[in-house]
């Protein structure tokens, strides 16, 4: 049974369309990330599911209960949707102590004192913030505030948890730590998480499914590795992965039944589609997508390249290569470095490379290069 279902959800602010005819299903216990550049409608989507924003059109179901329908005039208020919401700036109430911040919602649900006390203590322990219970938010560090905010959100035991860029206000190290915590929390609580971020790495590492949006339109809704390896279009391919995917403009020509000759000023390659068989008219403009890790610098390589610059970071080295006038990025794992200006040989020997239509930027096929 899908837990959250959006059907033809559209949100307009005046004439601007924030979310355009969105259809997604989020299953029970999933960790879904809404990913996209700023202004793509991801936060709006999250807020509409939570009930903080009213959609212009469409229907939203939570646990098969219709919580919003523009047709039927249903709009259930956020507190009756049994959801939790973690805000970007935590939204802790500055005039209440940590304890009070967590207990306030429970008091409001008319729990008795002992039960509230037990629940708050449980959460304080779970998030390892016991010693701060008497402090005010302003007396806590960013990471501690974040934990309090999580505790407050979890207090009422919501089955669904919404998070709006919860880690973007933390420094890099803390963010790393909190990612681990969030993933652990997802398993421990067994709740469904819906998570908004513009950080593709966060989306890749945390979620079970990524929902990628662009200007209010759904681009792809699949597990992270599928999005990574089989991007539905060039925008998606470019958005996920760091360093970015190399896109080489080439013109195509069908040579054998199943092979395509790709040519550009500096490169000539033979492409064999493996996912589907496609027919390319002669001279069609194509984009060849090559992930940086799919280029290997090997002595037996067939293509000549010059080292343009290197960025060694210990675990890996990002190398910019010059092939004629073409500049491409590749990643070499392990602590190796190269001399700038040196000549090397490279090979495209990975299992799959993506081919896009240069005009529509749509994914045409995945295949191998030779």
């Amino acid at each position: 049974m899908p837990q959250i279902r959006l059907q033809h959800v559209t949100k307009r602010f005046g004439k601007a369309i924030a979310v355009d005819d969105l259809n997604i299903e989020i299953g029970d216990g999933e960790f879904v990330t809404l990913l996209g550049p700023s202004g793509c409608g991801k936060t709006t989507t999250l807020r509409m599911i939570a009930g903080l924003e009213t959609p212009t059109e469409g229907e939203i179901f939570i646990d098969d209960v219709c919580v919003f329908s523009s047709e039927k005039g249903i709009d259930i208020s956020p507190d009756k949707r049994n959801v939790g919401f973690l805000f970007q700036n935590y939204a802790l109430w500055p005039h209440m102590t940590v304890y009070k911040n967590i207990s306030f919602g429970l008091e409001n649900m008319k729990w008795d004192k002992e039960r509230i006390d037990a629940r708050v203590k449980e959460l304080l322990t779970m998030l390892r913030i016991e010693e701060f219970h008497g402090r005010y938010p302003s007396e806590l560090s960013g990471g501690q505030q974040q934990r309090v905010a999580i505790a407050r959100t979890l207090a009422t035991g919501p089955k669904i948890l919404f998070m709006d860029e919860p880690l973007s206000n933390l420094d890099a190290k803390l963010r790393m730590e909190m990612r681990t915590e969030l993933k652990r929390l997802h398993v421990e609580t067994g709740s469904t998480f819906v998570y908004v971020t513009h950080d593709q790495l966060e989306a890749m590492t945390l979620s079970t499914k990524i929902c990628l949006l662009r200007e209010g339109l759904l681009q792809q809704y699949e597990p992270p590795l599928d999005v990574y390896h089989y991007p539905s279009n060039y925008f998606v391919a470019d958005f996920v992965g760091s360093p970015n995917i190399n896109a080489i403009e080439m013109s195509g020509e069908q040579v054998n039944l199943d092979e395509i000759k790709l040519t550009s000023e500096d490169l000539n390659l033979l492409y064999t589609p493996t996912t589907s068989s496609i027919t390319i008219p002669k001279g069609k403009k194509l984009l060849l997508g090559i992930r940086p890790e799919d280029i290997s610098i090997v002595e037996e390589g067939t293509i000549d390249a010059v080292i343009y610059s290197t960025l060694p970071s210990g675990m890996e080295t990002i190398v910019k290569l010059e092939i004629g006038k073409l500049l491409i990025t590749c990643v070499v794992f392990g602590g190796v470095d190269f001399e700038m200006g040196n000549k090397v040989k490279i090979a495209f020997d990975a299992k799959s490379y993506v081919l896009f239509d240069a005009e529509s930027e749509k994914n045409l096929a995945s295949g191998t290069l030779s």
């Binding site: 903080l52 047709e71 039927k72 005039g73 208020s77 507190d79 805000f87 939204a91 109430w93 306030f104």
Partner: protein, 597 residues
Amino acid sequence: MNYRNRFKSFIKKPQNIILVSLAFILIYLTVIPMITIVIDTFTVHQSELMRVKGAKVGDFTLYHWTKVLFSSASKKIFYEPFLNTLFVSFGTCFIAILLGGMVAWLVTRTNLRYKGIISTLFIFPYIMPSWTLAMAWLNFFKNSLVGGAPGIFTAITGVQTPNWFAYGPFPIVVVLGLHYAPFAYILIGGILRNMDANLEEAALILKASRAKIMRKITIPIVLPAMLSTFLLVFSSAMSAFAVPAFLGTAVRYQVLTTQMFRTLNGLNPGYGYIMALLMIAIGVLILGINQRIIGTRKSFTTITGKSSNISLINLRAFRTPVSVVLLGSIMLVCIVPLISFALESFIMEPGNYSLDNFTTLFWVGSGSPEIANGEPGILRNVSILKGLWNSVRLSVMVSFIAGSVGILAGYAIVKKKNTRLSALVNNLAFFPYLMPSMAFGAIYLSMFAVKRGFIPPLYGTFALLVLVGSVKYLPFASRASVGAMHQLSNEIEEAGTIQGIGWAKRMLKIIIPIQKASFISGYLLPFISCMRELSLFILLVTPSSRILTTMLFQYNEKGWNQYANAINLLIVLFVVASNVVVNRVTGASIDKGIGGN
């Protein structure tokens, strides 16, 4: 979504209900009065029947407009007071900005001594009613040329002050300038304090001299704030009534407000309405200009940085003398007037300051028939105590209504920001600020003298005073509240919404406690303004609804000097005391609301 459903989800949100009801109420209380005032400039009133020949009450006429603007009498009726108003307003601005700007610069940018006490005391003249300094001026410098007893200065030195010094434009400009200098101080000081010191330090590193930095960096950055101060002081000075009334009447120096009072109270309400309309037009124009300037000003102040470790200019040898002289003169302006009121209220025969002339008659005496019609001393005087009670009652009610409505208005305006409805209510709630108090009072007089819909005729009732006060001071409260709500992220409230905390509880337990200080200053400002307000109420009070300030005005007009001084002292002490109490208890202060930090 169909319209019925859209409507259903619209009215479910409290902020929508607040905005819609406020839009209706405020249109009724501000826009409709504007329309009635326009109509009033074209109608014949009861008292004008004699002049407009052959007309009936309520007839359409161009008489007022032609008479005021294009007749041989226009010069006396309108143009002269208009030019006087311009002169007074420009003069006031000049003095206020010069003084306020100088003190602001000294306090924020130099190593002046006694900064704490100077910045506290300097606000004082603004907290006191504006006519306080005017009365003090009269107590000191009035001469016997116009009639009556001479002031303290003449009594001590034996020198008669010339008329130009004692009455008319000169003292009006000086007194209003002193009154509004704190206003300039707060606005300019705020900018100086928030300005990134790095901007100046960057110039210093590039080897610019102090004078050059001042000229090329500091002043250009502060200039928009100065212009904005100029416009706000200008519009306030333009609508000032009490000071010109106190200082100008003796030499028949009329400005628009005093002229308006004469015509509205006398035989030509039509003239008065025209003047009111013109003053509102100027006010709107000024605020329009101001808003444009503020729009660009923001681009300066967003580049704020660490201005904490700014290097203060060393005044060196001047440090102590400047500090002492400044503190001394501020004390002089703040405290000496109060002493003069006390002094004047204890002397039997005005102008005679010998010890045997002192009496407590005007405070606690039972009244004797040969003085002031047997009026008892003010602490035993039933009608004065009733006036005090009325003043307090009025101020409390007005501040409660204006403050509470202001909170709701600010909440809803910010919640629905960038919508047309929100902008409309925001402007409506600010509109009363533009209306000169006297004109506002006049409109309500004409509008509520008769039965309006379900509202019974309110003239002469206390309710009318509460109504006019609440609307007039709503801008203070709504501005404070809009500012407070802007600082509060929307998520703070949503965090409560999502946990099922109801709207009332969210307001009372989350939003209001967090922004307590700002909201309280939204109550405090109307309270203090109302306590010292004269021109707004002067046309509306009747003997049963008299308040302290209007009584002061009447006693002063009758020449019962000692009573007037005693009442004034009472008002000043009350206003200052309540400000101090609220400040101590809640941390809110009046300078917060008028643009301070």
